[in-house]
Amino acid sequence: MSKTSALKGKNKWPYLFITPYFLSYGVLSLFPILFTLYISLTDWDLYGNRHFIGLDNFKQLFLHDSFFWKSMLNVFLFLAGYLPALVLFGMLIASLIESRLIRRKTIFRLSFFSAYMTTPVAVGIIFSLLFDWQGGFINNLLTEMGWIDSKINWLGSPDSARWIVILMIFWKNLGYFVMFYTAGMAGIEASIYEAAVIDGASSKDVFFRITMPLLKPINMFLIITSIISGLQLVEEPMLLFSGWASGSSMVGGPEGSAFTPIWYMFDASFNGSAFKYGKGAAIAYSTFLFIALFSVFGMKWMNRRGEEQ
């Protein structure tokens, strides 16, 4: 009560305090977002075309553009590959770190977290160094060991290229997952574990019956945010196929097997000879549509699962 009365007569201040945010939001975010929507309805390009063409860009994308669907399929294939692995290995490694047998927990946590803090650009380049056809470390290692006779073109065939992208994102994000799981596990009361041990539970039981259910909220958070950011994947595959190590770049990877929607958006609007802003804007909005769809379903699913418990 005293709080509100003391604030009377000073009402202009909160409005003044939030003005910079909303002003800059309007000019630097809201306007570009709405204007991109308008651009997506035109054939706007670098050469002066600015005709309003309605939903033609979207029709073209959804009905006739196999690259768009391929890039969408790719990000889902990647997610299907690395997300279960991140959840599984993230929990396993976190439970190893958090077990009472390990004393120097921080060192292990940080060694996994280092990849997460690495510039995405460098992540792509490091993996191109590892898997390069002629000079890559993996091929050299395999031939040195005598396990293969001729070098494998890892980044040159669609299947192996996809697996390498999956491995790369797994490597980058594992530390992020480990961090969340260790934070979550550290928050579980020791008495719960002690009681389980007294009741004769094996360590397998403890993991599957106690640790995993208690980590469910963290899992939901990690899975939904990973899907949202996974659909926006761009820098790492872009640099993996930029030709940093091999000298020859390949947009989208072999047969577009590593193309992602945002990469496609970038390529359509800022790269090569195209500069088709209209098409790029349509790709941006279509991708956003998918993200929004999955966020809504994800939240619904999260809420329903929450109510069941």
Partner: protein, 270 residues
């Protein structure tokens, strides 16, 4: 029990060494003479480090560092500054429309940043700000997550009594924010600061589409272009990659506790 302990320590150490191996390889490869790099497996450091260092320092890499550094500092400053004062207003005042305005900010948190990229780049061209660092810094002005984070923190950690008594002592509202509130917000400021700094430092797509002068390149652009600059000198490029990434990783490992608290805070209590 003892055997189990050693098994756990050993397997965990093995996994983390395997995990860190790409970094090790990157460091080691930068110490080789380019021609020797493919003769045998580069598992141990070679003696060409100083030579490669001379090559790489003759290029723009220090300049890239400086560009990235000052852009990241300014970006962090505007992000944290705007988020702190906006968060203070939402966390500590009652005013008409507050619920809707705050709800709007939460809603915009869901919108991915790349959605407006094309028009943002056009807008920057209209303002004649392309080929400057301004588009990179201005992008920090409206960080919805930052406002959310600061509002939560201000609500729970700035005691109302302290604010009240400062008011009674005749402190103006802006003075109140600077002298009384900011000190209470410091933990949140440092966390959001680290996240913002890292975000700005790692940003690649935005500088890629707004900057095409090598003089203005930030670190990620510099790294991506190393292979074109040192076409024939593979080891020097890799050393450049190491220099461009490793110092920041090491630096951030020291601040990682704050960073992790900020990142996990939304999902994990405590």
């Amino acid at each position: 029990m003892r055997a189990g302990k050693w098994l756990t320590v050993l397997s965990l150490s093995f996994i983390s060494l395997l995990f860190l191996f790409p970094f090790y390889l990157m460091i080691v490869m930068g110490t080789y003479y380019s021609e020797d790099l493919f003769k045998k497996l580069p598992l141990l450091p070679s003696g060409y480090f100083v030579e490669n260092m001379k090559t790489i320092l003759s290029a723009n890499i220090l300049h890239n560092y400086w560009n990235s550094f000052y852009v990241a500092v300014l970006f962090t400053f505007v992000t944290v500054g705007v988020a702190a004062i906006t968060g203070f207003a939402f966390g500590k005042y009652e005013f008409a429309g507050k619920k809707y305005l705050y709800g709007f900010i939460l809603l915009t948190m869901m919108i991915p940043g790349q959605l407006g990229l094309i028009a943002y780049v056009m807008e920057m061209k209209w303002f004649h700000l392309n080929n400057t660092h301004a588009p990179l810094i201005l992008a920090g002005l409206n960080n919805a997550f930052g406002v959310f984070f600061m509002t939560q923190f201000a609500r729970s950690s700035v005691p109302a009594e302290v604010v009240e008594s400062a008011r009674i002592d005749g402190c103006s509202e802006p003075g109140l924010f600077v002298r009384i509130v900011v000190p209470f917000l410091l933990p949140a400021i440092s966390t959001l600061g680290l996240i913002s700094f890292l975000g700005s430092w790692n940003n690649y797509l935005l500088p890629l589409v707004t900057i095409n002068k090598p003089d203005l390149y930030t670190m990620p652009l510099g790294i991506a272009n190393l292979s074109t600059v040192f076409r024939t000198d593979y080891s020097a490029s890799i050393l450049g990659l190491t220099l461009g990434t490793l110092p920041l990783i090491v630096l951030f490992l020291f601040g990682s506790k704050t960073l992790v608290q900020g990142l996990t805070g939304g999902a994990v209590k405590g």
